[in-house]
Amino acid sequence: MSEIALELKHITKSFGDVQVLKDITLTLKKGHTLGLVGENGAGKSTMMNVLGGIYQKNSGEIFLDGKEYTPASPKDAGASGIAFVQQELNLFTNLSVTENLFITDMPKNKLGIVNRREMRRTVEEKLKEVGAEEISPETIIASLPMGQRQLVEITKSIMAEAKIIIFDEPTTSLSNTEKEKLFGIINKMKEQGKSIIFISHILEDVFTHTDEIAVLRDGEIISQRKTSEADAATIIKEMVGRELTNIYPTCEKTIGEVVFETKDICQEGRFDKVSLSVREGEIVGIFGLMGAGRTEYLRCIFGLDPMSSGEVIYRGKRIQPVEPENCIENGMALITENRREEGLLLPKTLRENIVLSSLKSHRKGNGRFFMNAGKERESTAKMTEELRIKTFDPNEQTAGTLSGGNQQKVVFAKWVLSDPRVFLLDEPTKGVDVGAKYEIYTIIQDLAKQKSAVIMVSSEVEELMGVCDRILVMNNNRFTGELTKDEDYSAEEIMKYAVGGAV
């Protein structure tokens, strides 16, 4: 059983002058699950891309089933039996499930005409295997919810008859039930003798579902050991290179009166009279499974998605119209879960990013038109220092060159600078490494300390319990439960509400 499926020996890879992979040596046994953990920027994605044939390694050797393996293209990797389930789904939203699954090798006749019937049959079979028989093979991906899309992605790896399947952060966009389903499938695959590499930020998952754990830091494999012999504290220590004593910061603050309310929010086909209120200095968490409507609720009250009726009120004053520009003018801020696409101007400098939402207050004197460049630089310097953003020069460095955690800090800096009183945070620590997470929690606590009202959406129950003063649970586009910090925080309770309270 301890036969080796995949072996990496002293792999190096550099881009220009930057050496991303210094020395990767790793073994994966047949029928085993290997958990791969590491901070963002440790080199996980690069390593996977080398395995997947997207990048070519500079030196070192890879052995697949004892044979040397040098993939020149993703197609090579697929042919050799390596499949990927990516963090960002690689599905084509304009094509059907079947077409997505067969996109690189459709069965066809001599004229090149595709045999749709055969494809359909295979897909139905495979979907059943994954337990996703509710998905019709002819559905266009765009009309599927996220969780089902992930299932399609997994089906794809089954289709390839892969021997090695690499899951790269597969659970980030999944609800807990979907997660459980996923792990069920992973176990099933393992039983079939497939080997699995499981990359995740969520240590809990890694501990419960893997046979071995490898830690990657700064392009090197720090350790590889049996899961049964590992403990969380050591792993975290190896990941960050230092020990974390307290994951969640605490601070003294006073919670005041209700300052922010959303009343009877309705959205066609989704929300029907959903209300919420937050006090001054309070951090309210919203928990919900995938598709419960948490993200949608934030986007709705911020005016990003249409709102058919309802009121958004800050300090007794109704915000109208509910449009991003107006909401911001009235002291609201939204940090979306997708910072690269919705949070940052990647090719622009940190300065341009940081002053973006407070451009109007950086105008010259009382003028309407002209910008005060000096003031912009001043504010930027102040924010980079306050939030400890690592940069060589905020006026020169572009946001795209920062690591995930630092990028998220830039997004925070942008909003902290515009001094809003109501923060809407959607998965503020998504894709952020452990060290940076801590700093982001500190920033959130600081905001509350300075009498802001904070609403924070997260998929990690633990995180919410650690940070929030109150947790609201959402299910099927409604709030189904409410818990406060001092009384009754328990993960089980929260989960009960999240699945509809009918347990």
Binding site: K348, L356, L359
Partner: protein, 321 residues
């Protein structure tokens, strides 16, 4: 060391212009005299102004085909108002009314473009293509195809006069360019424009309204077309529906050669002005050398390709660092 670094950081377009200019001075007979330079400068004015306007729309990832058609429409409408043969007999009032109407026409169609693009979320490519047809059609209907002549003498003086070798028209063009430069680099709108051009969604979520910003860009482009119409009318002393017929490629050429990213979010007005001067100089020099026009067309096409390739390579190197 420091000066070398500084020299290196100067955008490529300045080198192109300088090298080409010096080479032309040395090698092209008839180029190196003041009268010729003055002519060269006055030829470039319209292109500079139009390119500045379209530059704004390119900055947010769009394009404005309407501007060349607007150029023609404003010259015939404005020309017919201020003409000595017109109903107002070329009086001073007529002159000012004409100028006003030209700018307002540009503004009007800028508003139509901006409104359709932002309200109906129509692709700018198609919207401005359609309005270009409409504007062109209107110009033809207005004049019946004939050209408009008889500009008042004051306007003629404005069109032909110069200070040393700098024509008044160039001063107008530089004025427009400076205003646009200030707008893009020093104002709130400028920041918003670059932000929207770089990342539409992030700008929206950060409280910068892409709708308002894009709308303003097209309105400004329209106004630029109106001003370009005035300069054209002054330069040619007649209005014609034919103006700008083959100009669009030169406009895009100026912008691209100036290093502006056609995907939006990056590009400087000053470089676009340099690009316009370069394109204009290429035209002139090759004409003077007696090179057939189809080779000029061909060369200009190649230059766009080369400039865009060089720009991409530079950007990539910068990103790799």
């Amino acid at each position: 060391m420091n000066t070398l670094k500084k020299l290196k950081s100067i955008d490529a377009i300045y080198w192109f212009v300088a090298v080409f200019f010096i080479a032309a001075l040395i090698f092209v007979p008839g180029f190196a005299n003041l009268a010729a330079l003055e002519r060269l400068l006055s030829q470039g004015c319209v292109l500079i102004i139009l390119a500045c306007g379209v530059h704004l729309t390119v900055l947010n990832g769009g394009v404005d085909f309407t501007s060349t058609a607007l150029l023609a429409l404003t010259t015939v409408v404005g020309g017919s108002i201020m003409s000595t043969k017109g109903p107002l007999g070329g009086s001073a009032g007529a002159l000012f009314l004409g100028l006003l109407v030209m700018v307002l026409l540009g503004l009007g169609f800028g508003i139509i473009n901006g409104f359709s693009i932002t309200t109906f979320k129509m692709p700018s490519f198609i919207v401005t293509m359609a309005t270009q047809m409409i504007v062109n059609g209107l110009a033809v209907v207005y004049t019946g195809g004939a050209s408009v002549t008889g500009m008042p003498s004051a306007f003629a003086k404005f069109g032909k006069g110069s200070i040393f070798i700098f024509p008044y028209l160039l001063i107008v063009a530089i004025g427009v360019a400076v205003v646009m430069h200030v707008i893009t680099t020093k104002t709130l709108f400028g920041r918003q424009l670059y932000a929207v051009g770089t990342n539409h969604k992030a700008a929206l979520i950060s409280g910068v309204s892409p709708r308002k910003t894009i709308f303003k860009a097209y309105v400004l482009s329209g106004i630029c077309a109106g001003i370009a119409g005035i300069v054209m009318l002054a330069y040619m002393q007649s209005g014609s529906v034919n103006y700008g017929a083959t100009m669009f490629n030169d406009i895009m050429g100026s912008i691209i050669v100036g290093g502006t990213s056609p995907a939006g979010g990056r590009g400087k007005i000053a470089n676009t002005v340099m690009g316009a001067l370069l394109i204009n100089m290429i035209d002139s020099v090759l004409n003077i050398l007696g090179i057939p026009y189809y080779f000029i067309t061909l060369i200009k096409g190649l230059i766009i390709l080369v400039a865009a390739s060089i720009d991409l390579i530079r950007m990539e190197r910068k990103a790799a660092r």
